[in-house]
Symmetry: C2
């Protein structure tokens, strides 16, 4: 679980591995091969065995792709990673291209020659992405060919890590709040209502939620890699590698769920011949669609039917999240106390900051994992939105600088994600002004009431408007959904500029994390998790409104707040939030921390 | 031009006209016939000759439909018109259904019997709407059949008004700001860029803009009903009824434009055989698509290529809008002066209010038309969003009530649209509080700065948030686009809850009109037009921002503002706005009005 600070790949990977991949391509008669970042599970985090893009190129970003031709190769990254790719990938071997503007299809259309055959692994591409690649290749007169054996996997060979086989364990009802048979019955009814016979569920988080199980196949989220076929009557076939199945799992799943080895999946899909089958083209790779179509099933492209029910946490899950945030808030307050006392004197480096915070979370005795690698960005590193300290980049804190710490934990009762920005020594006036603008946006999104039907994109503006008025903005979403002891990034809801059609609904947990980043100087982000609730009706109110309850409990650095820039209601919000933090976290922490917390939570 | 106060149709229309329509249906062998509100031009306003839905049913709303079967009939209206339809349509003859929930397709599927043939006029339906109707009829085992002659038109016969034939006149360069050849060259280049050979343009506003002409075929907007085929090289064929062509029109259009009679249109479409032709399925009826496909043209469904360039006004048009708003603001200020003096004593009725305002606009000597029928809603009528006074509904103003007046004008240099809500006598505390909430939303949307790429739906929330916080909301969009001496409702930009993908761009004119409506009691709306501009950069700003310049110039009723509810920056906005109104309008009006204006525009 411990966060490491090594670089996981480097520039030597391309020179070492490209010849091996090309040899396998030649053996299969391929002129090129497509290497997406995504793996068989189309999940955010990959097991080491599926870090194919990193192995081929050296690039370790969380999104990207590569194409290898016999005589040239290209790596594709988005705007977040333009600096990182230069450090990690050998430019003599790989041309770097924009993943979004044009992306792989435009490059393919450009460089593929008539008659060329370019391979792809259908397990790794969504049908939507593949359709664009097919057209691009077609325009160049080339063809794409699905491979049976992935030439990269063959090239990787014996040194490739094993596929994970962590035990799949029950997720008890005291945390899940609804048993699997009830979930399967209502999702099954929804499948029936839409006229389908069954749904193929391949997203690991959906499998975990639907069957109330958790696993450990990928780092930072307790996911079991597996698949399921859920029938309209609520019965299901569930596929896991046998090595993962624990002794008590069959009894936990009950007799409506047939637990089968992964090897039986292909046959089970073929057995859907003649049936109407829902499957999500955003979650499931092309391989599933090919299988179903070959079997003569009627494929219905539809959003994963568990996605929305999973996003709307039940009362047990919300209550669990509250407990998890008290526990996490206590650990975080001990950490902020340390930052504000010992660390102000001793000026530790980023790696020590990360290790200290992880140790305090471990000391709760309840930590199952971090929910993502902690971002601790001192000074200019704070402005690198996806910064993660390594031994090579590690930086010591300096007086007059800001430290941005974005971190989270996985507990059985909930997943946390919190960012605090802390002043080391005396902050500059500009830092305080911009921190206060970010805070005003954060408060607007924490306080807002809104009618049913409102989407996250409608609320996003509230978090940005104070920065916009000052000619500033930030280049990431304002909020993402969060799972319940599941992924820290969970759809379908989000709070972002991009228009979306998912209305916020009671029980959805989202982050509220506006920021400001001054390249080469400092970064600011203030992040709490908040859950959608039915808002109390103000006097004279005529319509039911929704609102948010803030879950995260940790002081916001008062030294960075310019009080005069706050409207009275904004100031009242911050004072009330701090009073609540003190009330709930004060009793959890030791006297010196409590004494400090009182000051940190004093009214402005 | 004068606004009338008669009811334009009534409950006797159905009983009188339904038998005539059914007789024509029987003659053509039809079991049913579809009657949309839309006409051949798919335009917001219809000439009297095309008010088919009103003639058949009595219903005069701005959206709706009817279906007539041999033994039953239904009328379809949206939530705005549920009361009105009860008054206007004979319930013994027409079942009333929701236009949006299910709409015509659901009813057709329900009542059509296998083998039935239901007619439709392909000139009146968009292809998208028709596709849904075809599927619904198909599911019921019935078929839809395109008619050559519209049975309703035949039934209407000799008493049907003539098609309008108002003169088409040049719209001079001093107002248009860019000559037609330049517009045709750049739109032609865009057509070429998208790989097409030509575009069929059927929206009357697009024809007017592209060729710098105006007409008078429909009330309230200076539209010439006609069509054009624009070629990628900038040449065009333009189709108008010969009766509309004025002597100087051919010379104005120049030799790159071939002016042809409407009768030549069908042949011109057939002549596009083998060509790649853009046409907008949201603007052009199915008839065009059928013609082009029959001719063997390659149809490219794409947004009208003039829509976005037309929405982004050039500097001449923006400067024209400023002039128009000074002129209109002077007339409006005279009106508000009258309301605040003589009318407070004499308590006129709604019809007098409308007539007075129209007279003051006419007295400018520049009024071409109203831009829509004036809404003057006294007391509870103010809560009826689409209220228009008639002799039957006319209501006298009462002390202690609010009067909502939403009106606009067409001038050669610009189109206006403005709403003011005025207190008669002493307003109640609740009215003032809710007015101030609406005002705060209006100010937020007037002051905001935002980065390029921001859509109207992202800004909509700013105008609603103060109401939401009080448990209130309003059920219409916050803003619509406005043309330049063209339609007062113009896309593609809008400011509304519904997610949209059109970024606001410099030169776009939009309304800013949040409101609050208390059924049976009163209505509040505050509306100004504002144009998107490049915002000045605040000190320390890092990114270019867009913003708005308010065009409308008329005082906002200070007696309805609760000063303590305004933040300092909101109060500063209102004071600065009023100072600007006084500076620009004061010199335009007579001494008694000017004296009044000084008080009405005083700082809070």
């Amino acid at each position: 679980m411990r966060q490491t600070f090594d670089e996981q790949a480097d520039r030597t990977f391309g020179p070492k591995h490209l010849p091996l991949i090309r040899a396998e391509m030649a053996r299969q008669g391929l002129d090129g091969f497509l290497i997406p970042h995504e793996d068989e599970h189309q999940n955010e985090y990959l097991p080491d065995a599926n870090e194919r893009l990193a192995w081929a190129t050296g690039f370790t970003g969380s999104a990207g792709a590569a194409v290898v031709m016999a005589d040239k190769a290209a790596v594709f990254v988005d705007g977040r990673y333009t600096l990182q790719v230069k450090e990690q990938v050998d430019a003599a071997l790989f041309e770097t291209r924009d993943l979004v503007e044009g992306g792989v299809p435009a490059w393919l259309e450009d460089i593929a020659r008539p008659g060329q055959v370019i391979g792809y692994d259908p397990r790794l591409h969504s049908p939507d992405a593949l359709a664009r690649l097919h057209s691009a290749a077609g325009r160049a007169g080339a063809t794409l060919k699905a491979v049976e054996a992935n030439p990269l996997d063959d090239a990787w060979g014996g040194v490739r890590p094993a596929q994970p086989a962590a035990a799949v364990v029950p997720h008890p009802l005291e945390y899940a709040g609804e048993d699997s048979s009830s979930k399967r019955a209502r999702i099954g009814a929804a499948i029936a209502q839409s006229g389908a016979d069954a749904a193929v569920i391949t997203a690991p988080a959906s499998v975990a939620w639907l069957f109330n199980v958790r696993g450990g196949d990928v780092i930072r989220s307790p996911l079991p890699l597996g698949q399921a076929i859920l029938n309209a009557d609520g019965t299901a076939r569930l596929f896991f590698d046998h090595a993962k199945v624990t002794k008590d799992l069959p009894a936990w799943l009950g007799n409506q769920v047939s637990l089968e080895p992964t090897a039986a999946l292909a046959g089970a899909l073929s057995a859907l011949s003649g049936r109407k089958v829902m499957i999500d083209p955003g979650q499931s790779s092309s391989w599933y669609f090919d299988r179903l179509e070959q079997a003569g099933a009627e494929v219905v492209r539809a959003v994963d039917p568990t996605a929305l029910p999973r996003a709307c946490k039940n009362t047990t899950e919300v209550e669990g999240a509250r407990h998890a945030h008290v526990r996490d808030g206590a650990a975080l307050s001990r950490f902020l106390f340390w930052l504000d006392t010992e660390a102000q004197e001793r000026l530790p480096d980023e790696v020590e900051v990360v290790t200290r915070l992880e140790g305090l979370r471990e000391a709760t005795g309840a930590l199952k994992d971090l929910s993502f690698d902690t971002i601790a960005g001192a000074g200019p590193h704070g402005a690198v939105v996806h910064y993660r300290p390594t031994l090579r980049t590690n930086r010591r804190l300096q007086p007059g600088e800001l430290l941005l710490v974005d971190s989270g934990a996985q507990y059985l009762d909930g997943t946390t994600d919190v960012t605090r920005t802390v002043a080391m020594g005396e902050p500059a006036a500009e830092m305080r002004e911009r921190f206060t603008l970010v805070l005003r946006g954060h408060i607007a999104l924490a306080r807002v009431r809104f009618p049913a039907g409102t989407t996250g994109s409608a609320l996003d503006t509230l978090a940005r408007a104070p920065l916009w008025m000052a000619g500033l903005d930030f280049d990431h979403g304002t909020g993402h959904g969060v799972g319940s002891y599941l992924g820290v990034h969970e759809g379908p809801q989000r709070i972002a500029k991009r228009p979306d059609s998912t209305a916020l609904q009671p029980g959805m947990i989202v982050s509220n994390e506006p920021g400001y980043y001054k390249t080469g100087a400092y970064g600011i982000r203030i992040e709490n998790l908040q859950v959608v609730t039915e808002a109390s009706e103000p006097p004279g109110g005529e319509r039911p409104m929704l609102g948010f309850e803030t879950l995260t409990l940790a002081p916001i650095d008062r030294r960075l707040v310019v009080t005069e820039m706050l409207a009275p209601e904004e100031r009242a919000w911050l004072d009330a939030y701090h009073a609540r933090v003190l009330k709930l976290i004060g009793p959890q922490v030791e006297p010196p921390v409590r004494t400090w917390l009182k000051k940190a939570c004093a009214a402005l």
